[in-house]
């Protein structure tokens, strides 16, 4: 069943159940087959991708060795470990931005330009809970996530239903407008002053010289926990199967008795809840104000393009890849911190050249 669905999706250029497929699964599932290289562009591009990525991640080290910033003593290695770990943690935060965006795109083909503003809303909800009511940022999720879910459903019913199936620009414009409304509402309520929550400022020492911030560990575990839970729901529950079926082909799903409008409703609700969870992570790690959401939208968008549009696991992997690459470039290359964006987008472009569908994506028809 799944086999068929996947194959059909590829042929039609629609999103297959790759929405949740494991890394490398599309190629592996088909088996080696008799066709050899020519019939297997996917496999071939995977090898090319692997070669490219090895080179890409080796490059900062090469530059570092040339510039003399690489020293192979214990202190330097501990520093490197810390930095790579930091990159992975950062990737976890990026992933929280990206999964909600990829979900909406996968199911409805709508690019939610208000996604970053939903993240920002989450940061403010957490902030209000903390400063006005003294609620722990993690506990407050119990309250803010259902709220966000309802908010997402309202957005779907009132705005996005009109954009499903319409040209992609329609949804983009509607969500862009929604984003502006959210920004200015937040400015009205909270002014443009920056906020942040002083939460778990301590450090976790993993080995001599290898340390990572408490709030980052908490954020990362939360990101992993939430995205795993969503993954499992999408993969194994009836509801998840219905979501995937709708992503695959809404009309056929409808014929099979799936209430597609309800699925849209739940998808946007879930995406909003994921964004708000991402906002909670932002609020305990970074400073934010009503304007910062735009940056998150851009980052999330870059990640889902890198990972494969609409591909859930791809977004997670893409996020961690970006986080680690940025950290390595920043550490090893002279004046590298100014180049992290360059490195990130160079990676994005190169990956897209090798695999136009993104890391986990499939070639669109």
């Amino acid at each position: 069943m799944r086999e068929e669905a996947g194959a059909r999706g590829r042929e039609a250029g629609e999103l297959p159940d790759a929405l949740v497929a494991a890394p490398g699964a599309p190629a592996a599932r088909r088996g080696p087959g008799p066709g050899g290289w020519r019939e297997r562009p996917d496999v071939r591009s995977l090898y090319r991708l692997a070669a490219f990525l090895a080179a890409a991640y080796a490059l900062p080290f090469a530059v570092g060795a040339w510039a003399g910033t690489v020293r192979l003593d214990a202190a330097w290695l501990a520093g490197l470990a810390t930095v790579v770990l930091g990159g992975v943690m950062q990737g976890g935060v990026y992933a929280m931005f990206a999964v909600g965006l990829t979900l909406i795109f996968g199911v409805m083909r709508i690019i939610n330009a208000a996604h970053g503003e939903m993240v920002m809303m989450g940061a403010y909800l957490t902030w209000v809970a903390f400063f006005a009511f003294g609620v722990d940022p993690l506990l407050s999720l119990a309250l803010t996530l259902p709220l966000a879910f309802l908010f997402g459903m309202a957005v779907q019913r009132l705005l996005l239903d009109a954009a499903v199936g319409a040209p992609e620009l329609t949804g983009l414009l509607i969500t862009f407008g929604l984003g502006l409304v959210m920004i200015y509402t937040a400015e009205l309520l909270f002014t443009t002053d920056f906020r942040t929550i002083p939460y778990a400022p301590g450090t976790v020492v993993l080995a001599p010289g290898v340390a990572v911030g408490q709030n980052r560990v908490i954020s990362f575990l939360m990101a992993v926990g939430i995205s795993t839970a969503v993954y499992l729901v999408l993969r194994f529950s009836r509801l998840g199967k219905a979501v995937r079926a709708t992503a695959l082909n809404a009309e056929v799903a409808l014929v099979c008795g799936i209430d597609v409008r309800r699925i849209y409703l739940l998808t946007t609700g879930l995406a909003a809840a994921l964004a708000v969870a991402g906002g909670a992570l932002v609020s305990i790690q970074f400073g934010f104000n009503p304007e910062t959401g735009v940056v998150y939208t851009l980052q999330a968008f870059a990640i889902i393009v890198l990972g494969g549009r609409g591909h859930y696991v791809g977004a997670l992997i893409g996020a961690v890849m970006l986080g680690v690459l940025e950290a390595l470039v920043s550490l090893l290359v002279p004046n590298g911190t100014a180049m992290v964006e360059l490195a990130a987008y160079a990676l994005l472009i190169a990956v897209l050249l090798i695999r136009p569908g993104g890391l986990m994506g499939v070639r669109e028809g």
Partner: protein
């Protein structure tokens, strides 16, 4: 004088202005004769929304306060002041258009400055062409005044001096190697340039100088790099979000510097409150603080009280600077005795005024030698620690290690 406007800026000007501007260099009427009801119109565009809305909003507060006070005192040269403040949405292009409109359509009698170096630089080309002067209170990048412009004056200290106090304090506690980091944009780069210059004068070696993109949130790699280069102090040319992330990650990674200073972040009112104990011992720069007993500028106390009564918070330096610039404008108009823009320009270029913000007296470029101050966050309060003549307390440096806090 001849190369006032760069070629790119000139093309921009032509395209923007060409449509709306029938009489580019017309000489303006000497007084507010064209307006009924004995009113003069004072106008400007400032960022009431968008990314600059926080600092610019406090300047708006000060401007409104000044207008109401002035009208209460009987107006300017017997005219009642009408304020026309427009919102440029923190956008340069919008600001240019609004200034064109204010000058050519609304025909304002006095111009107010916008906020931020970038927007001020762009607007400076507009008012220069219409020969209407203003005193900038939201721009600290000196290149604006290094292009031979005649109609723009400055009241605040320039970016190059933002780290001056921090570098001096680093020198005093024996720092030999330091790092300069900052956001990759005009103002932080200028501040970095100044810091490097001061460090060179005082014999501090800059071991790393690195800029990061605006959206950067993860500084752990950069901080590691600083420690492995042996930096003992960090001069960070940063705003709220980046300074907050740097400090947090220093604490998380247990990276200890003897001194950490940031140009903008710590001077924002809620920085200590939002960061809690992580903000302690951080050095910051302020153009001005509402401390009349220390700075002793004339009229400070009355201004601070009036502002606090009206807005429920003490004015910060943005508010103080805007108010000071308006005091200068008022003094110049009174000296000239009319709203003749050319005479007003000459007055602004030569006048000496003691404002609530400090002394105003510009050099040939139009820049004021305003003296800022360096503070340290101690027990959640900003306490002035430099220059010595204004120091409230002795700086607590080197900063204690994170493990001992």
């Amino acid at each position: 004088m001849m190369t006032r406007v760069g070629p790119a800026a000139r093309i921009l000007l032509l395209t923007v202005a060409g449509a709306v501007l029938p009489a580019a260099a017309s000489v303006r009427p000497a007084a507010a004769a064209h307006r009924p009801g004995n009113e003069v119109l004072i106008g400007g565009a400032i960022s009431m929304t968008g990314r600059y809305a926080e600092p610019a909003g406090r300047q708006v507060n000060a401007i409104k306060l000044w207008v109401d006070e002035l009208n209460g005192r009987g107006g300017l040269l017997g005219h009642r002041i009408v304020l026309r403040l427009l919102d440029d949405k923190s956008d340069t292009q919008t600001s240019i258009k609004l200034y064109e409109k204010l000058i050519t359509e609304d025909r304002v009698d006095l111009l107010l400055a916008p906020y931020s170096s970038g927007i001020t630089e762009a607007v400076a080309n507009v008012n220069e062409r219409h020969r209407m002067p203003f005193v900038a209170y939201g721009a600290a990048s000196s290149p604006i005044w290094e292009k031979g412009r005649r109609y723009i004056f400055n009241i605040v200290a320039v970016a190059e001096d933002y780290q001056k106090g921090a570098v001096h304090l680093a020198h005093r506690i024996g720092v030999r190697k330091a790092a300069i980091i900052g956001e990759d944009s005009l103002f932080p780069r200028q501040a970095g340039k100044g810091a490097r210059e001061w460090a060179r004068k005082l014999g501090i070696e800059i071991v790393v100088e690195e800029h990061y993109p605006t959206k950067q949130t993860d500084f752990s790699a950069l901080l590691r790099k600083l420690t492995s280069a042996g930096a003992e102090a960090v001069f960070s040319n940063s705003y709220f979000a980046d300074a907050a992330a740097q400090l947090r990650q220093m604490r998380e990674l247990n990276i200890n510097f003897k001194l950490y200073s940031s140009t903008i972040g710590p001077s924002l009112p809620n920085f200590p409150e939002q960061l809690g104990s992580t903000a302690e011992y951080v050095l910051g720069f302020s153009q001005w603080e509402p401390l009349p007993h220390i700075l002793k500028h004339p009229g400070m106390k009355a201004f601070i009280e009036a502002y606090e009564r009206r807005y429920g918070e003490k004015p910060n330096y943005h508010a103080g600077g805007a108010y000071g610039a308006l005091q200068v404008t008022e003094a110049a108009v009174r000296r000239v005795g009319s709203f003749d823009q050319e005479k007003l320009r000459d007055a602004l270029a030569t006048i000496e005024v003691h404002t609530v913000f400090g002394r105003y007296r510009v050099d040939a470029r139009g820049m004021n030698a305003h003296e800022g101050l360096t503070f340290q966050i101690l027990q959640g309060q900003r306490r002035v620690v430099w220059p010595d003549k204004w120091a409230e307390v002795k700086p607590e440096l080197p900063m204690p290690e994170w493990s001992r806090r």
